[in-house]
Symmetry: C2
Subunit: 442 residues, 2 copies
């Protein structure tokens, strides 16, 4: 007699044929909830989508139309696997704003910086190799590391970013366990999800620790130009350089997704020369070349529009939303809740009081028409349940306040329930499998 599969069991006739790495690829449990959360009545504080309402769409449309009419035979054709040479020059100018001197020869244009993460991981990671990464870390990077069967070892952060002493200890522990660490993955500016930045005074030290241990630093910097209060901090990549501006220690990842438009999928990686060659070969095997139209559009945009003025407008919008968020949190969160105070970027990291479990609370929050990302998404080891990430990049300030109000109601109820009846859930800390990010969560 045939039996019905139990809940959550997928009948997959191909299971025996998949590669080993594929068995670690499972859809996030929270993915289904996000489908619900995309309904208009839900205030999503979950997504990392920039609010593009400030973009001059008519000007960008005109620019693109002219690009295709006048240079379409090039824009619609195959291009270089490394990326358009003119755009690579302009990317060097963008990086110079953070103190980086680089040759466009060492830049590889990628399909968003997610592809840069993928290529670097593909080139360096054998199954079982260790990646050191902040606790918490960007969910999309964790998904890529898992896709190549890396083991992620988390390193503690505090309000000043990655803790150098914790990094030293983690490196020693990995070595003592006989494992091979390949690189440190870090988001030094306006961290996703933690909302903190690596202070100036720690940057040289972090780099020195990695260099001494023979580790590369993978500096992922999508938010560097989105600081509210101060000019950009000098990049880690700007520090580990020789007289000619080259570095053999840092791979730097950048993106136009937060400063222009994510729908173009244009990012880049700046790498030591030898590594750059491998990345181009890997990129060609992956996609042949990035879309030429998108690259020429970004190049035209950078060359002809006041793009830095546009970034300033994005910053102002985010700042206003950040203020609304922090004000609402201060007014509404239950006692014992704490959160970070970001000075740029998109995210606030909230720590819940007592034993509250953000993953168990998410379905109730969605029912109450508010969505967030549970902290567990940002850890490779199943921890993070008493955290959650709130983004302030997309909704209007009034919606942000309303979202926080709805969230506070859910939290208040849970606090009260627990005070009355004790814990409502088992709080299992099951080891997290590779949860590939949905774009909502970028």
């Amino acid at each position: 007699m045939a039996t019905r599969p139990g809940p959550g069991v997928t009948l997959d006739a191909f299971t025996d044929r998949y590669a080993q790495r594929t068995h670690g690829m499972t859809a996030s449990e929270i993915r289904a909830l996000f489908a619900v959360a995309s309904r208009p009545e839900v205030v999503s504080l979950a997504g990392g989508m920039p609010n593009l309402s400030a973009l001059p769409l008519d000007a960008v449309g005109k620019l693109t139309g002219e690009l295709i009419s006048s240079r379409g035979a090039q824009a619609l054709q195959y291009g270089s696997g490394q990326g358009d040479p003119h755009l690579r020059e302009l990317i060097c100018d963008v990086m110079a704003l953070e103190g980086i001197e680089a040759s466009s020869e060492d830049v590889v244009v990628t399909v968003g910086s997610q592809q840069a993460l993928d290529l670097v991981t593909r080139v360096f990671i054998d199954p079982g190799d260790v990646v050191l990464a902040e606790a918490p870390s960007y969910v999309g990077a964790l998904g890529t590391f898992a896709a190549f069967q890396a083991e992620v070892v988390h390193v503690a952060m505090d309000d000043e970013g990655l803790v150098p002493e914790a990094l030293r200890e983690a490196i020693a522990a990995v070595k003592a366990a006989g494992k091979k660490a390949k690189f440190l993955y870090t988001v030094p500016n306006f961290h996703n999800p933690a909302g903190v930045s690596l202070v100036e005074s720690r940057r040289d030290e972090v780099l020195a620790i990695c260099e001494e241990a023979g580790l590369l630093v993978l500096e992922d910097n999508p938010y560097g130009l989105l600081g509210f209060d101060a000019p950009p901090t000098r990049a880690i990549r700007a520090r580990g350089t020789d007289a000619s501006g080259r570095s053999d220690s840092v791979l730097y990842l950048g993106s136009f997704s937060k400063t222009f438009a994510p729908g173009l999928r244009v990012g880049w990686v700046l790498a030591p020369h030898a590594v750059r060659e491998k990345l181009v070969l890997a990129a060609e095997a992956a996609v042949l070349c990035p879309p030429q139209l998108n690259q020429m559009l970004v190049a035209d945009y950078l060359s002809t529009q006041d793009w830095q003025g546009q970034v300033a407008a994005f910053r102002s919008m985010s700042r206003e939303r950040r203020d609304a968020r922090l004000e609402a949190l201060a007014q509404l969160m239950p006692a014992g809740t704490t959160w970070t105070h970001p000075t740029g970027g998109f995210y606030v990291w909230v720590t819940l009081p007592g034993e509250l479990d953000s993953k168990l609370l998410l379905p109730r929050a969605v029912t109450a028409r508010v969505a967030f990302v549970p902290g567990t998404a940002f850890y490779a080891d199943g921890t993070g349940r008493n955290h959650l990430r709130l983004s302030y990049c997309y909704p209007e300030p009034e919606r942000i306040r309303e979202g926080v109000r709805r969230l506070s109601t859910v939290l208040d109820e849970e606090v009260e329930l627990r005070a009355t009846f004790g814990a409502t859930g088992p709080g299992r800390a099951s080891r997290r499998q590779a949860e590939s990010p949905s774009p909502d969560m970028a």
Copy 2:
């Protein structure tokens, strides 16, 4: 005393840190030559770039400008990891032209069909797994298979495409050797590089052989609508279906690179439902989502323009060039040279007389201002030296004739030299490493 590295030796300080798979990624020896071959004085018969001169650039520019002006907030934003739902519906209409019934739920939009190759390989291939593939095979697929450390076993073709009996024997040999074959990779229509098609009468048989052996068929079909003489042949995917049009045996890859514009990098894969889920997870780890702008542009183009009329125009151009190519070959090639007679697509596959070695001849050909791709690029095992691929997609007919004339001069000289002095080169059949394709060679 420090010694200088010998010629061809790269000092790469990262060698000890790369993943195993990276050691197989080496730049093709012919890559440097193609940099020379891109000079305007060289007639390139090497590239697989479609000639876009027939595209209505003003109309496409206008379409794109309006798309951004009116729907830019969506077009420039993150999209779905699986791809735009509207475009996926339209892709089903395109596939229906080859007899495929499919649900848009089972379509994944990719960054060109190269990314579809990459995702399928990533999901199915462990190091050492076998991929069966035609002899010769598309260089970009071989690069991807090598990047995931697959072992490629070539299967003979004749003028009617893949030889079923050779497929049976290859499957038996792989099994006898205790190896695990995962899929058959095939380009059934207007094969790249061989220029032949799998005849109707063999299609059911090839599918049945694979199904019996528990192999998937990876049907790569960028050229299916580019036949000169007849309507499209029914796809393999259209055969292995149940009553509702689903198939558990075939993964079908398609692309808009040859029917619209490669610079947009929009391709797709149609997969069995369970496999589709894995492909989406792999795609999200690789790039989060394909560029939304490009997908909406293709959707608008398909919906508002006479795209099939445009494909007919591309076909006429290619046909005229094919005729010029075949005529020039018949007039100019040295005795003993043979070639295929393609009825669609972009490529003629040439077999040289006697012991002529296309790889050794390429530098002389480039000096004589003509470029081709040596046959070795299309074999995973170092063979193919007495073949070369000539494309007829890009240059004008007059340039095609001139290119063939220059090539014939080089071949004639070599034939004469050999008649006088014997072989000029060692003819080493060194085992080929993973030669990632350059986009020129797509």
